[in-house]
C-alpha cells in the first residue's frame, strides 16, 4: 500500500557545499540517501515529494560537518499481510515463483499455487494448468495476496498466494 507521509531525517553536509546552493545540495543529497531505502516501519521510500522544512544546521565539533534536521514528504510503499497486489513474475522454479511489485519481492510457493497448476520444467519454466489455458512464467503479471511479510533492515520480503478467488494471472506476455 502506498502512503504519503512526512518523515524526518538529520542530514550531514560537508562544508564545501555551503553557499548559495546549500539547500539544493541538501535536498539532492537527501534524495540520494533516502529514495529507494527501506525501513521496517514505513516500508520503501519511493519518492520524495516535497520538503516541509529544514531546521537550523548544527556544526559538529571536529569535523566541520553540519547537520540539518529535515522534514520531508515522501511516498512510501509498504506491503501488508492480506493485501492484494499485482506483480510481475521474475523467476519460476519448482518451489514456486518470485514476483516483484515495485521494490518488493514476493514469493509464491508451489503450495500456494492452485493445485491444478503444475510445474513445467524447460527453457522457460512455468506453471501451467492441465489444459494449458493458464500459464505462469517469467514476465507474467499476476494478482496475488500477501500472506506474510518479513521485514529486514534493507528489504521487505513477502510470501504470497494465488490460491484464492480472483487471484492469478492477469496478463500473459505470450498472448499479449
Amino acid at each position: 500500500m502506498f502512503f504519503h507521509i512526512v518523515l524526518e531525517r538529520n542530514m550531514q553536509l560537508h562544508p564545501r557545499h555551503f553557499g548559495r546552493n546549500l539547500r539544493e545540495n541538501l535536498v539532492s543529497k537527501l534524495m540520494k540517501d533516502v529514495e529507494g531505502t527501506c525501513s521496517g516501519q514505513h516500508g520503501f521510500v519511493v519518492a520524495i515529494t516535497g520538503i516541509e522544512n529544514i531546521g537550523k544546521g548544527m556544526i559538529r565539533d571536529g569535523t566541520g560537518f553540519v547537520s540539518f534536521p529535515i522534514k520531508y514528504q515522501c511516498v512510501v510503499f509498504r506491503p501488508f499481510k492480506g493485501e492484494i497486489l499485482e506483480a510481475v513474475v521474475t523467476m519460476v522454479n519448482k518451489m514456486g515463483f518470485f514476483a516483484e511489485a515495485g521494490p518488493v519481492q514476493i514469493f509464491v510457493s508451489n503450495h500456494l499455487i492452485p493445485d491444478d497448476m503444475e510445474f513445467q520444467i524447460g527453457d522457460m519454466p512455468n506453471y501451467t494448468t492441465s489444459d494449458g489455458s493458464v500459464k505462469i512464467q517469467k514476465d507474467s503479471e499476476v494478482r496475488l495476496k500477501i500472506i506474510g511479510t518479513r521485514v529486514d533492515a534493507t528489504e521487505i520480503f513477502c510470501i504470497g498466494t494465488i490460491k484464492d478467488d480472483f487471484l492469478g494471472v492477469i496478463n500473459d506476455p505470450t498472448t499479449a
Binding site: M95, S109, I159
Partner: protein, 1069 residues
C-alpha cells in the same frame, strides 16, 4: 481375574460335576483347619488348585493375601455368586470384563462369609451348572473343530492378555487400601543370600516347602532388581530361620523385618516413565532391525512384550530358499534393506503364507514362516527391553514410509500426536497459538495462558467458551498459519527460520529465509520468531559459505550446514555439483584468495562484482566470494539454488563496475599472499608508463574524492623524516598535506597536538592492512596522495631517487614499493577508478609493504610477518635480500646493484617462489626473465625505476638486509630439487659457494641468492645473525616470540630480540 475364573470354569466342566459337594466339603474342612490354626491349609489348597489355576491366579491370591482367610471361602462362594449372575447374562458375555463385579462379590462374600453362606449357595449350584452347560456347549463344539493345540493356544492367548492392566484400571483406591498389609498379616523378612542366587534360593525354598509342608513360611520373593536378598513371608522370624536352615545359598544369620509400611514397596513395580501405548514410535535396539523405527501395535504389560509394526527387512529369495529346504547361505554382513512386503512378489517366489485372523482384533494377518505381515508391514512381538522408547525423533522419511497410501488425515495425526511425548519441558510458552488435537475439543484453537506441569491453560478462540480451559499438554499442538515467521527450535533443521507457506496437519512447510527452500518441520519444533537465520551455520571450524578443501583435493563452498554434514558446492565450474560432506572429509578451510584475472584482463578480488558472460550461468551477477585455482564463487542474491552460490571459471566473467573491495575486513592473510602474488603484475612496461599520463591527472580525482575523506581518521605511520616511525591519526587531508595527530609522543615532538607533516613521506595504514605512501612535501603532493595510481608511484620513485634531499630514505622502500605498485598497478590500469579503493582494500596486494613499514625498523624489514621464517615462502623471500645487501656492500658493488637488470631480478624474483601457480618461477635466473610466467606482459621491468631504487639504499646507507654469510645452513633449490647446504663463501656478485649436505660434506656448488633460502633456526639452535648491527655475530636462539627470535649473542652474552628473518641456522661444524 474374572476371566480366569471363567476360563477355569469352562475348562473344568467335568470337575464341576462334583464340585458343589466337594466345595462344601472342603469349605468345611477348611473351617476346621482354620480352627486348628490354619497351618497347612494353604499348601493343600494350592496343590488342589494348582491343577487348574494358572500363575496369574496365584498372583492374585498373593495380592489378596490379607483377606486370605475369607478369600478361600470367597472362591467357593464367590464363584457361586458370580455364577448366579452369569445366568442372567447373555451368553457372549463371558469375554466381557466382569472384574468389577467380582471385586464387589468378594466384598459381599466377605460379609456373606460370616453368614452361613454355604447353605445359601448350595441350592443354587445345580441350577447354575445347567446354565453353564447350556451356554458352554456350543462353544465347545466350535472349539472341537480345531485341534487341541489350537485350543491350548487360544487359552494361552486369552490368559496371557493382560488381566493385570484391567485389574489396575478397575480397582479403585479404596479397594487398594483394603489390600494393604496390616499387623495381623504375615510379615515380610529380608534374608541375605548369595549374589545371583536369588531365584535359585526362592526355588529351593519352594521345593523345600513342597517336601516338608510343615514349614511355616508363606511365600518367597526374589526380585530381579534386588541382588543379594530374598524376601520371605512368614509370621515369625523363627519360621524363616527354620526354612532357611540347611540351604547353602542363604546366609541366615541376619534376618531383617520389613516394616509394614514398606511392604507394599517391595512388591510394587517401579513405574518406569515409559508408558507405551499404541502408535507410539519406538526404535529397535538389537537384531536385524536395530535402529529401525517401529510403531507399537500392541502392548502386553504382563509379559513385558510389545507387538511392533516394522518395515520388513526380508530377503525374499533367501526366505524362499529356506522354505524350499535349500541351503541358505548365511552372509552375516548383509542386512536386507527395509522394504514393504509385497505378497505378489512373495508368491512368485513360491512363498506361501497362511491367512489368519487375529482373535483379539479381528484383523487378518499373512503369516509367512512364522512372521506376521499385514499391509506389507511386519508385526513382530518383541520384549519391551529390546526397544527404546525415549527420545525417538522419527524423520520425515521414516514416517513417510510408515504412512499407508490409503491412509491420510486422521491416521497421520494420531501417529504424529504420539511424537509429542518426546517434547521438551517448557514446550509451550505463554502466548503460543495452539490447537487441540485430541478429545472433545479437537480442533479448538486458542492461546496459551498458563502452563502447569502437564496441564496447559488456554484461552480458547471461541467466545462462548469459558475464559480459560485446562487441557492436557498431550492434547495440544502448536498452531501456525501461513505467513507466520517462525524459527525451528529442534530437529534436523534446528535454527532455521522462515515463513510458513503451508500447514498440513501438524507439519509445516516453511520457506527458509536464507536458502529460499522449502523445509518440512513439525509444528511442534518451531516457535514464532522474527529472527532471520539459516539454522546452524557452523560445525567445528567451518562455517557456512566458507571455502574448504576436501579430501580428494577438490574444493568447494559450504552452502548448507546440516546437523552432521555440510553441503558443499564443488568447485567445478559450469556444472553445479553438490556434495554432502562430513566434517572429517574436510581438509581445511581456504582463507587466502588471490586476485585473479577475468575477461579483459581485469583483476578481480574478493568482493568485486562480476557478471558471468559465458557458460551456463551466463547473465548471473554478484560479488565474488571466493577465488581459488582460477575458479570464482559468486554469490548471486537472485540465484536460489546452492544458497545463491555460482561456481564459474574466472575467464567466463567480466568485472562489473570498479573493483570495490571494501576495506572493513581484516584480511591479513589475504593481503599477505596478495602481495606475494603481485610481482607478476608489477612490471609496467615502459610504454605503460608513458600511457599512464601525468600523475596530476589522477591526482585531481583522488584529491577531490572520497580518498581524502577516507584518509581522515585512519591510523598512519610516518615513514620518513624526523617523525619517521611515529604513528598517528590523520585528522585532515588538505591537498598535499596531511595533518597527523601523533598517537604517543606528541609532547616529545612539538608539544602541539597536531603536526603538519610537511616533513617527508608518510606511510598510511588503513585498517591494519594497507600501506599507502603519501608525500606531504609540496613537490610530491599530488603524486603521492594518489599513491594508488601506478603511474604516480612510478613518478614518485623517480622523484625519490632524484631527490637526494630525502636522506632518510631507506633501501627497503624501493624494494617494497615496486611490489606494492605491482599489486596496485594492474588493477588501476584495468579499471582506473578502483585505484583508490584498492588502496583501502585490505586485500590489496600492497599490504605487505605496509607490514614492513609497520616494523618501522629498516633493519628488520625482512622480518615483516609475511617473511616469517616459519613459513617456507617467507624464507624464500629472502632470496632477494642478497641482491640488496650486496648492493649495499661496501666495495662499490652498489653501482652494479644499480643496474636495472640486477635490481629487477632481486626483487622480482623474490616473490616468485611464493607463487604456487608459477612453478616456472622457482629456479630463478638473475635476469628474472622467468619470474612472471603467468603474465608475460608484465615482465619488462622499468629499468629506470629499478635502478634508482637500487641506488637508494646506498644513499640512505643505513640499512642492511638479511644476507647470506658463510657457515649458515641454506636450502638450495636447484633445478627443482631442494637440498640443504652450508654456505662456504659469499661471492662478490651475491651468489654463494655452497657445500651440499647439512654438514657441508658434499660437493660444492655455486648457488645464486635466489636459489637459496636460509634454514629457519629452531629454538636452541646455534644461529648466525645475517642483518642489523650484529650482522655476522653468532649466538643461540633461546626462544621464539612470534616473528622475533630471542637470541643470546655469543660474544657479548647479551640477550637480544631480533627478527627471525635475519637469523639463520649455523651449520654444525
Amino acid at each position: 481375574m474374572a476371566r480366569h475364573r471363567d476360563e477355569y470354569d469352562d475348562e473344568m466342566e467335568e470337575e464341576e460335576e462334583y464340585d458343589p459337594d466337594q466345595a462344601i466339603d472342603e469349605d468345611d474342612e477348611e473351617e476346621e483347619e482354620e480352627e486348628r490354626g490354619g497351618g497347612s491349609r494353604r499348601p493343600s489348597q494350592k496343590r488342589r488348585r494348582s491343577d487348574f489355576i494358572d500363575d496369574v491366579a496365584e498372583e492374585d491370591d498373593d495380592e489378596e493375601e490379607e483377606e486370605y482367610g475369607e478369600d478361600d471361602e470367597a472362591y467357593g462362594g464367590g464363584g457361586g455368586a458370580s455364577r448366579k449372575r452369569k445366568n442372567k447374562r447373555p451368553s457372549g458375555s463371558q469375554f466381557l470384563d466382569i472384574e468389577a463385579e467380582v471385586d464387589t462379590d468378594e466384598e459381599e462374600e466377605d460379609e456373606e462369609g460370616d453368614d452361613d453362606f454355604i447353605a445359601d449357595n448350595a441350592p443354587d449350584l445345580p441350577e447354575e451348572e445347567d446354565g453353564r452347560r447350556m451356554r458352554h456347549r456350543p462353544l465347545m463344539q466350535e472349539d472341537e473343530q480345531e485341534d487341541l493345540e489350537e485350543i491350548e493356544r487360544n487359552l494361552q492367548e486369552r490368559y496371557g492378555k493382560s488381566s493385570h492392566r484391567e485389574y489396575d484400571e478397575d480397582t479403585t483406591d479404596v479397594d487398594q487400601q483394603a489390600l494393604l498389609p496390616s499387623v495381623r498379616d504375615p510379615k515380610l523378612w529380608m534374608v541375605k543370600c548369595a549374589i545371583g542366587r536369588e531365584r535359585e534360593v526362592a526355588v529351593c525354598l519352594m521345593q523345600k516347602y513342597i517336601d516338608k509342608p510343615e514349614l511355616q513360611i508363606r511365600s518367597v520373593i526374589a526380585l530381579d532388581h534386588l541382588k543379594n536378598y530374598v524376601y520371605v513371608e512368614a509370621d515369625k522370624e523363627a519360621h524363616v530361620r527354620e526354612a532357611c536352615k540347611g540351604l547353602r545359598n542363604i546366609f541366615g544369620q541376619k534376618i531383617m523385618l520389613v516394616p509394614i509400611r514398606e511392604m507394599t514397596d517391595v512388591l510394587s513395580v517401579e513405574s518406569k516413565a515409559i508408558d507405551l501405548s499404541r502408535d507410539t514410535w519406538v526404535r529397535m535396539k538389537s537384531g536385524t532391525y536395530k535402529g529401525d523405527l517401529a510403531q507399537v501395535a500392541d502392548v502386553d504389560n504382563v509379559r513385558q512384550r510389545v507387538t511392533v509394526k516394522l518395515i520388513p527387512r526380508i530377503d525374499l529369495q533367501a526366505l524362499a530358499n529356506k522354505m524350499d529346504g535349500r541351503e541358505v547361505v548365511r552372509t552375516k554382513a548383509f542386512v536386507p534393506p527395509p522394504r514393504l512386503l509385497n505378497i505378489e512378489e512373495a508368491r512368485e517366489l513360491h512363498i506361501l503364507g497362511d491367512r489368519k485372523q487375529d482373535r483379539m482384533t479381528g484383523d487378518y494377518y499373512q503369516t509367512i514362516n512364522g512372521m506376521m505381515f499385514k499391509d506389507g508391514f511386519l508385526y513382530k512381538a518383541v520384549s519391551i527391553k529390546s526397544i527404546s522408547t525415549q527420545n525417538i525423533h522419527p524423520t520425515f522419511d521414516e514416517l513417510e514410509k510408515f504412512r499407508k497410501p490409503s491412509e491420510n488425515g486422521d491416521g497421520d495425526i494420531a501417529s504424529l500426536s504420539t511424537l509429542f511425548s518426546n517434547r521438551k519441558k517448557g514446550h509451550f510458552l505463554k502466548g503460543d497459538a495452539v490447537i487441540v488435537v485430541k478429545g472433545d475439543l479437537k480442533n479448538l484453537k486458542g492461546w496459551v495462558e498458563k502452563v502447569e506441569e502437564d496441564t496447559v491453560h488456554i484461552r480458547p478462540e471461541m467466545k462462548e467458551l469459558p475464559k480459560t480451559l485446562a487441557i492436557n499438554e498431550k492434547e495440544l499442538c502448536k498452531y501456525f498459519e501461513p505467513g507466520n515467521h517462525v524459527k525451528v527450535v529442534s530437529g534436523t533443521q534446528e535454527g532455521a527460520t522462515g515463513m510458513v507457506v503451508k500447514v498440513e496437519q501438524h507439519v509445516l512447510i516453511i520457506l527458509s529465509d536464507v536458502t529460499k527452500e522449502h523445509i518440512r518441520v513439525f509444528a511442534d519444533d518451531v516457535v514464532e520468531s522474527s529472527e532471520v537465520t539459516s539454522g546452524i551455520t557452523r560445525i567445528g571450524a567451518y562455517e557456512l559459505h566458507d571455502l574448504v578443501l576436501l579430501d580428494n583435493n577438490s574444493f568447494g563452498v559450504i552452502i548448507r550446514v546440516e546437523s552432521e554434514a555440510f553441503q558443499v558446492l564443488k568447485g567445478v565450474p559450469d556444472r553445479p555439483e553438490v556434495a554432502l560432506v562430513k566434517l572429517r572429509e574436510i581438509k581445511c578451510k581456504i582463507e587466502k584468495s588471490f586476485p585473479v584475472e577475468v575477461k579483459y584482463k581485469h583483476k578481480v578480488s574478493v568482493k568485486d562484482v562480476v557478471r558471468v558472460i559465458d557458460g551456463p550461468c551466463e547473465g548471473k551477477q554478484g560479488p565474488v566470494q571466493h577465488i581459488y585455482r582460477g575458479v570464482l564463487f559468486i554469490f548471486d542474491r537472485h540465484h536460489l539454488e546452492h544458497a545463491g552460490f555460482i561456481c564459474v571459471k574466472s575467464h567466463n566473467c567480466a568485472l562489473v563496475g570498479g573493483s570495490r573491495a571494501n576495506g572493513d575486513r581484516n584480511g591479513n592473510s589475504n593481503s599477505r599472499y596478495d602481495h606475494l602474488r603481485t610481482p607478476p603484475r608489477v612490471p609496467q612496461s615502459p610504454n605503460r608508463f608513458s600511457r599512464g599520463g601525468p600523475p596530476s591527472n589522477y591526482g585531481g580525482r583522488n584529491r577531490g574524492g572520497r580518498g581524502h575523506d577516507g584518509l581522515v581518521g585512519t591510523t598512519v605511520k610516518i615513514r620518513q623524516g624526523a617523525y619517521k616511525g611515529y604513528r598517528g591519526r590523520v585528522v585532515e587531508v588538505k591537498g598535499p598535506n596531511v595533518r597527523v595527530e601523533l598517537e604517543s609522543q606528541m609532547k616529545v615532538v612539538t608539544g602541539k597536538s597536531r603536526i603538519s607533516c610537511l616533513l617527508g613521506y608518510l606511510c598510511i595504514f588503513m585498517g591494519h592492512n594497507i600501506s599507502v605512501m603519501l608525500a606531504v612535501d609540496r613537490n610530491c603532493i599530488s603524486d603521492n596522495v594518489t599513491v594508488t595510481t601506478p603511474y604516480r608511484d612510478t613518478s614518485r620513485y623517480g622523484m625519490g631517487s632524484e631527490t637526494p634531499m630525502h636522506p632518510s630514505r631507506t633501501p627497503l622502500h624501493p624494494y617494497m614499493t615496486p611490489m606494492r605498485d605491482a599489486a596496485a598497478t594492474p588493477i588501476h590500469d584495468g579499471m582506473r577508478t578502483p585505484m583508490r579503493d584498492r588502496a583501502w582494500n585490505p586485500y590489496a596486494p600492497m599490504s605487505p609493504a605496509r607490514d614492513n613499514w609497520e616494523e618501522g625498523n629498516p633493519a628488520s624489514w625482512g622480518a615483516s610477518p609475511q617473511y616469517q621464517p616459519g613459513s617456507p615462502p617467507s624464507r624464500a623471500y629472502e632470496a632477494p635480500t642478497p641482491g640488496s645487501g650486496w648492493a649495499n656492500t661496501p666495495g662499490g658493488n652498489y653501482s652494479e646493484a644499480g643496474t636495472p637488470r640486477d635490481s629487477s631480478s632481486a626483487y622480482a624474483n623474490a616473490p616468485s617462489p611464493y607463487l604456487p601457480s608459477t612453478p616456472g618461477g622457482q629456479p630463478m635466473t638473475p635476469n628474472s626473465a622467468s619470474y612472471l610466467p603467468g603474465t608475460p606482459g608484465g615482465q619488462p621491468m622499468t629499468p629506470g625505476t629499478g635502478g634508482l631504487d637500487m641506488l637508494s639504499p646506498v644513499i640512505g646507507g643505513d640499512s642492511e638486509g638479511p644476507w647470506f654469510l658463510p657457515d649458515i645452513l641454506v636450502n638450495v633449490h636447484n633445478s627443482g630439487e631442494e637440498t640443504t647446504g652450508v654456505v662456504r663463501e659469499v661471492l662478490p656478485d651475491g651468489s654463494c659457494r655452497v657445500a651440499i649436505g647439512s654438514g657441508g660434506n658434499g660437493e660444492t656448488i655455486i648457488a645464486l641468492p635466489n636459489e637459496m633460502e636460509a634454514v629457519v633456526p629452531k629454538k636452541s639452535d646455534k644461529i648466525k645473525i645475517m642483518g642489523g648491527s650484529l650482522r655476522g655475530a653468532t649466538g643461540k636462539l633461546i626462544g621464539v616470540d612470534g616473528t622475533d627470535g630471542i637470541v643470546k649473542v655469543d660474544d657479548t652474552l647479551d640477550v637480544k630480540i631480533l627478527d627471525l628473518a635475519i637469523l639463520s641456522k649455523l651449520a654444525q661444524s
